[in-house]
Structure formats: C-alpha cells, structure tokens
Symmetry: C2
Subunit: 194 residues, 2 copies
Amino acid sequence: MSTKSRREQIHDVASQLFSERGYHATSMRDLASQLGMQGGSLYAHISSKEELLVEIVDQAARQFDDALMPLKDADMGPEDKLREAMRRHLEVVTHNLESATVFFHEWKHLSPDAYKKVTDWRDTIDRLYRELVQEGIRKGVLRADLDVKMTAYLLLSAVNWTYTWYRPGGTLDATSIANHFADMLLVGLRTEPR
Amino acid sequence: MSTKSRREQIHDVASQLFSERGYHATSMRDLASQLGMQGGSLYAHISSKEELLVEIVDQAARQFDDALMPLKDADMGPEDKLREAMRRHLEVVTHNLESATVFFHEWKHLSPDAYKKVTDWRDTIDRLYRELVQEGIRKGVLRADLDVKMTAYLLLSAVNWTYTWYRPGGTLDATSIANHFADMLLVGLRTEPR
DNA sequence: CCTACCGATCGGTAGG
DNA sequence: CCTACCGATCGGTAGG
C-alpha cells in the first residue's frame, strides 16, 4: 500500500515506536531513520513531536467513540448490547494494537489541553458502560444487587487489559475474545447454581 | 517517619515521579530537587538511574511473589483460594500503587537482563492463575467448559487494571474490591439461571 | 528532503 | 552533599 501519504507513514511509524519504546524514549532521529530520512526532514511534514502524539491519541479515542457511542441508542436487548459493546471495544483494541497501547500509556505526556480531552473521554466511556449495566438491571437481565460502578470497572478491565497480552496472527480474534469474556462474565465461572 | 535511610527516600520519590511522569520524562535533577539536593549529589547514594528503576520493579515483583506464591500449596478449597489470590493481588496493587504503576508501565525500559526477569515473572503469575483455574475445574467447583487461558486472563484483567482507577483514601479497600470482583466473576452478572 | 547548526538538557563524574 | 563540569543527545530551525 504505497498510496499512503508521507504524513500517514510518519504517523504509522510513530505509533509503532511510541508503543514499543514509549514517547520520550523515541527520538525524532529514531523515527526519521526508520523512514529513511534525516531528523530535521521530518519537520517538512509535521510541526512538532507532540503533534504526532496528539494525533495518535486523538485518532484512537475517535475509533473507540465511533465504535461504541452509536450503541447508546441502538435498538437491542441489554445483553446483546453489552456483548456488542465488548466486541466492538475489542475490535478497536486488536485492530489498532499500537495506537491503543500509545493511548493507554502515553497520554500522561500530553500538554494540558490534550490531556484534559483524554480524561474527559475516559469519563465518557466509563459512563457508557455504567449506563449499559444500569439498563441491564432495569430491564431485569442483570442482577439487581450489582454495584454499577464496580461492574463497569470489571467489564472495562477485561476489554482494556487485552492490549497487554493480545498478539495479532493468533487464532483469537476480537469476536471470539468478546464471546469468551461475555460468556464467563454473564453466566459466572462456578458450576454450583445460586 | 524520618527513620528512613536516604536511599529509601530516593527510592520512594523515584517511585512517585516515575509513576506520575514516566521513567524517561523524569530527570535526575527533578528527583534531586524533590529531595532538596543537587543532581550530582544523588550519585553519592546510588550508582545510576537505571539501578533505581530495577530496584522499584524488582521490589514490586517480589511483593507479588511473596503474596501469591504461598497459595500454591495452601490447604484451601479452590474457590477460597481464588478469592484469596485476588484479595492478596489487590492488596499489593492498592498498597503500592506507585511502584505497581511503574511496574506495569516502565519495565520496557529495562536493560535486557532485568527485562527478561520481568517477562519471566509475568509468565509465572500467568501460570499460577491458570493452575488455580485448573484446580477449580478438576475439583468440580468451576465450570468444566472454561477455557483455562482465557479465564486466567479475565481474572488477571480485573486485579491488574485496578491500578488505573483506584485512588487511596476512598471507601474501597483491597478486600472489598476483591469481594466485589470475585462475587461477580464466580456467580455471573445475569439474573437468568442457566 | 539534506546539511549544518542552535540552545537546552540529559546522565554522570571529579575534586573537594 | 556541593560546585563545576564532561560529552552526548535532544527537539527544532535556517537556508538551500
């Protein structure tokens, strides 16, 4: 795919290096040499190192938003909606493993404005998962004695932590991971009925 | 507690700064100024910046080991053992939030030897959780149709991801988080029986 | 996109 | 533990 603009190429290599080594441990000269150019030449295409980080993080956030937010008003049962949220969430993580890793690890290094956008975004996603849980309880599909906040954290743990162990090319894809997790979470690990 | 050696004080401040800003974004002068000394003076107490990182990460790993490994041969039922593992795991995370954060985020920046120790350690913990799950299945306490690997990942997600949202001083402690998570995981979120 | 360079800052050392 | 300093490297710029 050599149709990619030079800017996109820089963006891709930056995702890769930032996710592997971290933002501060990656120099602009590292980046440039991976692209076969000199350090200073990068600035013909971008204006600063932080601009790159902001773009990677923003793009990751947008992917999560585009995948998850339409579910709010989706016409589905609570269980299907929860399963679909996990599936889509995991699709974003597994299909954008590098930018997702940068998103989870490097957002601390953003300047105040971009930093705030990320924390706001996190709150939005938290809220979405809490609403899904609440809706499930209200409609009698999820147990009424659940702590909504803790339940949302548990769901988010499962889908987010995946970036630490998932490696592409294996037999697992987002859908099968989501099915595994949702089955365990909804039905429980124990044999003994309650 | 002014009985702490200067070395321990350096270690503590390093944990704090490395967890907040990251290893590479923390300079030795940042560290020194928090301790009221000059950058160069640190080297009267330590030999290098990486030595600090290695110590923080090693200490965190040792805390997890000391808490979890004795459970392997503990004389407990599978469910209690699983609950106790989660409780102890969460106790380490919540009581050492800063070093746990450094452990989860900054181990990539270790030199090859220390790096390998961390990946080996991770495998050990993975294995422990898988054994706990396997034992639960074998003794009929956990569902026989569980995928052992995925189940272990799910458990580890819950206890590990906690470092991202837990803030000390709230009403939740390790035990109550562990109870919440274990109840949800073992019994399931759904009302409908299977 | 390259060459050549800027000031700033880095981890670390010597000598006291 | 301080002062003063080292070479190396950083992000970024100017001029072509």
